[in-house]
C-alpha cells in the first residue's frame, strides 16, 4: 500500500474546468473521502488518479513515483465503480481472478489470493455464479473483492454504495469500515453522501465546482467549517446561516440580525475586530439553540417536523428567513404560530466574512 499525492492538478474539458488546481496528499493506509455535490469534480479527480483521465496540468504521484505518463494498467491501483463494472460473462471466481491473471500471478498463488479475498467478503458460496445471478449487494462485494485481491497501492472507490437500497447501504457501509480496518489499505473514496463521509473517512476533502474547500478530520469539518459552502453542505438539517451587521453592545461585539442581536464571545469578537468588515454571516447548527419564551432573537414557530426521536422546529424571523432548531422528543413542543425566543450557544457560533464567505477565526 502507498501514498497518493496530487499537486496542482487541473482538468479542463473544452471550456469547463472540472478540477481546479487541486493539491491533496493521501497518507499511506489513510481513508480519505472526496465529498461534494454532483458535478463538483470529485469523480474526475478520482479518474485522474486511476489514469482514466489525463490532467491538463499538475502532477500525480502514487507510492514513490510520478504516474502522469504511466498508463492505467500499470499504475497499480484498483477501482470500484458505481455500476460495479463486473465482467458479465465471467463467474465470480474469474472476475476476482482477472487482475491477478492480467499481472501474470502464478496459478497456485492466484487461487490462494482469490480464496482469501472472496472468503473475507463472504462470497465463498457464490464463486461459480455469474454476476447476473447475484443480488445488488453481492455484486457490490464481488467488485470489492476484485479491487482488494491483489493488494494495490491504493484502492479507489467511486460512489460504491449509491446503487444499493437504503437498508443495504447502511449494512454495507459498516462492512466496508470493518474490511478497511482489517486490510489497512490506502483508500480514496468518492461520495456525495455526507453520512458516508462522516462515518468512514479518516479525513474528508470537500470539493465544490472543482475547487478544494477544506480537508480535515470529519469532526473538524463539522465543528469548524472553513467557509459558508462547507458550513451549509455538511450537517442535516443544514446549519442556519444569517447575515447581519456588526455592532457594539456594552463594550463587546455583537451581530444585529433580523429579530435580535447575537453577542459574540471574546475570541470570535477579536477575530471579527481584526477583519474590520461591517457585515458578517453568523451560523449556528440546529442543535446549538435554546428555544424558550425569552431569548435574544425573536421568532415565530412556523412548522414542526416530528421524527420520533427528535423534532425540527422551523421558526420564522421577522424578515421571513427560516431557522431550524433541533429539539429532543421529550421536551414539550411549542405551539404553531407562537412567539418564541432563540438563544444560540455562544461558544458554538460560527462567523463568516460576508464578502469572502471564509470563516473569520480560521
Amino acid at each position: 500500500m502507498g501514498r497518493v499525492a496530487i499537486s496542482g492538478v487541473t482538468k479542463r474539458f473544452d471550456d469547463v474546468t472540472a478540477v481546479d488546481n487541486l493539491t491533496l496528499e493521501v497518507a499511506d493506509e489513510e481513508f480519505i473521502v472526496l465529498l461534494g455535490p454532483s458535478g463538483c469534480g470529485k469523480s474526475t479527480a478520482l479518474r485522474m488518479i486511476a489514469g482514466l483521465e489525463e490532467p491538463t496540468a499538475g502532477t500525480i504521484e502514487i507510492g514513490d513515483r510520478e504516474v502522469n505518463d504511466v498508463e492505467a494498467k500499470d499504475r497499480d491501483v484498483a477501482m470500484v465503480f458505481q455500476s460495479y463494472a463486473l465482467y458479465p460473462h465471467m463467474t465470480v471466481r474469474r472476475n476476482v481472478e482477472f487482475p491477478l491473471k492480467s499481472r501474470r500471478v502464478p496459478k497456485t498463488e492466484r487461487d490462494q489470493l482469490v480464496t482469501e479475498a472472496t472468503k473475507m467478503l463472504g462470497l465463498s458460496e457464490l464463486l461459480e455464479r455469474k454476476p447476473a445471478q447475484l443480488s445488488g449487494g453481492q455484486r457490490q462485494r464481488v467488485a470489492l473483492a476484485r479491487a482488494i485481491v491483489r493488494r494495490p497501492q491504493a484502492c479507489l472507490m467511486d460512489e460504491p454504495l449509491s446503487n444499493l437500497d437504503a437498508k443495504l447501504r447502511v449494512q454495507t457501509r459498516a462492512e466496508l469500515i470493518e474490511l478497511r480496518r482489517r486490510l489497512r489499505a490506502t483508500i480514496v473514496y468518492v461520495t456525495h453522501d455526507q453520512v458516508e463521509a462522516m462515518t468512514m473517512g479518516d479525513r474528508i476533502a470537500v470539493l465544490d465546482q472543482g475547487v478544494l474547500q477544506q480537508v480535515d478530520q470529519p469532526q473538524d469539518v463539522y465543528a469548524r467549517p472553513a467557509n459558508l459552502f462547507v458550513a451549509r453542505f455538511i450537517g442535516n438539517p443544514p446549519m442556519n446561516t444569517i447575515s447581519g451587521d456588526v455592532t457594539r453592545v456594552d463594550g463587546g461585539l455583537a451581530v444585529r440580525i433580523p429579530g435580535g442581536v447575537v453577542g459574540l464571545p471574546p475570541p470570535l469578537a477579536a477575530a471579527v475586530e481584526r477583519l474590520g468588515s461591517p457585515q458578517v454571516v453568523v451560523g449556528a447548527r440546529p442543535e446549538d439553540f435554546q428555544l424558550g419564551e425569552g431569548g435574544p432573537v425573536k421568532a415565530t414557530v412556523s412548522v414542526i417536523e416530528s421524527l420520533g426521536h427528535e423534532r425540527h422546529v422551523i421558526c420564522r424571523l421577522e424578515d421571513g428567513q427560516l431557522v431550524i432548531v433541533r429539539q429532543a422528543a421529550h421536551v414539550p413542543a411549542p405551539a404553531i404560530e407562537s412567539a418564541v425566543g432563540l438563544t444560540p450557544d455562544a461558544d458554538l457560533l460560527h462567523v463568516f466574512d460576508a464578502a469572502t464567505e471564509e470563516r473569520v477565526d480560521a
Binding site: 465482467y87 487482475p99 492480467s102 447476473a132 476484485r146
Partner: protein, 333 residues
Amino acid sequence: MSAPTDAAVELCPGESPVTAPAPRKRRLSRRAREAGLGYLLVIPAFAVFGVFVFYPFVRNFYLGFFSTPPFPGQPKNYVGIDQYRDVLTSSDFLDSLKVTVTFAIITVPIGIALGILLAVLAHQKLKAIGIYRTFFSSTVATSVAVAAVIFGTLLSPQVGLLQGIQTEPSILQNPDPIININLPVIRSFIPSVALVAVAVTTIWQNLGLSFILMSAGLQAVPDDVQEAAEIDGAGSWSRFWHVTLPLLSPTIFFAVVVGSIFAFQTFGQIDLLTPRGGPLKTTNVLTYFIYDQLQFAKNDGKAAVLAIALFGVTLLLTLVQFRFLERRVSYER
C-alpha cells in the same frame, strides 16, 4: 335471492344472472371465443406466408418427383424419389455444394473479422471519426451490380488496376487453384482463382453491413467494464480478447448465422462476374446451379430438387451452428 353466483357471471355485464347459463359452460365459451379471435387475427399473416412460402415450398417439393422431358411439349414423367437420389448423388451437385461451402468458408469469417477490425478502429473518440464511419459503412448503399462492375473493371486484363495490362485471360476466367498443392485430395478443396476473386468482391460488398453490425455490438459493451479491465492491468490486446470479444459474441453469432445463410444464397456477383458457373464450373454455387438448370438446361425437375437441397443444407447448417456455437455465446449484460 338465488344461490351464490359464480364470479364469472358477475364479470359479464349487461346480462342478468337469471338468463345466464351455468357458469362453467360460460367460461369455456369465452375461452373459445378468445381462441377464435386469435385465429382470425392470424389469418392474414398466414395467408401471405401460405401463398408465398408454404405453397411454393410444397409445390416445389412435388415438382422434384417429375423428370423434365427432353423436348418441350411432351408430357412430364413421374419418377418419384429416384430423381432426388440421382441428382443428390451426381458429381455436378457435389461439386457445386463444395464450391458453395468453400465460398461461405472464405467470405463469412473474413467478412466478420474485417468488420470487427474496422468497428474497433472507428470506436475511438477522435476528431472526424464520423467521416471514417461513413466510409466504412458505405458499401451498404452499394448494389450487387455496382460492386460487380467495380471489381469486374479492376480485374479486367485490359484496363484493370489489380490485374495490370497483360494478354493472359482475366483472373475471373482462371480455374487454377489459388495455391498450387500437388496432393489430389487436398487440391480438390482449394478454391479456384476465379472463386477467390468473386469471394473478395463479396467480402468488400458485405463489409459495410458487417461494420455496422459490429459497431452496434461494440456500443453495447459498457465503457466502465472496459475501464475496469484497464485498471485491472489488462493491456489492449487482453482487453479485446477477454472483455470486448466475449461481450460481442451475441452479435458475432448473429452475423455468422445470417452471413452463412446469405453466403449460401449468393447469386448476383457470381452471375455478373463469372457467367455460366465460371471457368470449369469453379464458381458454380448452388443458387447459380439452380438458375442454370432452369434458365439454360430448361430442366425444372432437377432445379426443384436442387432448390430443396439448398434449403436442407442451409437448415442443417443453421441447426449445427445453434447446437455448437451458441453455447459459447454469453448473453449476459
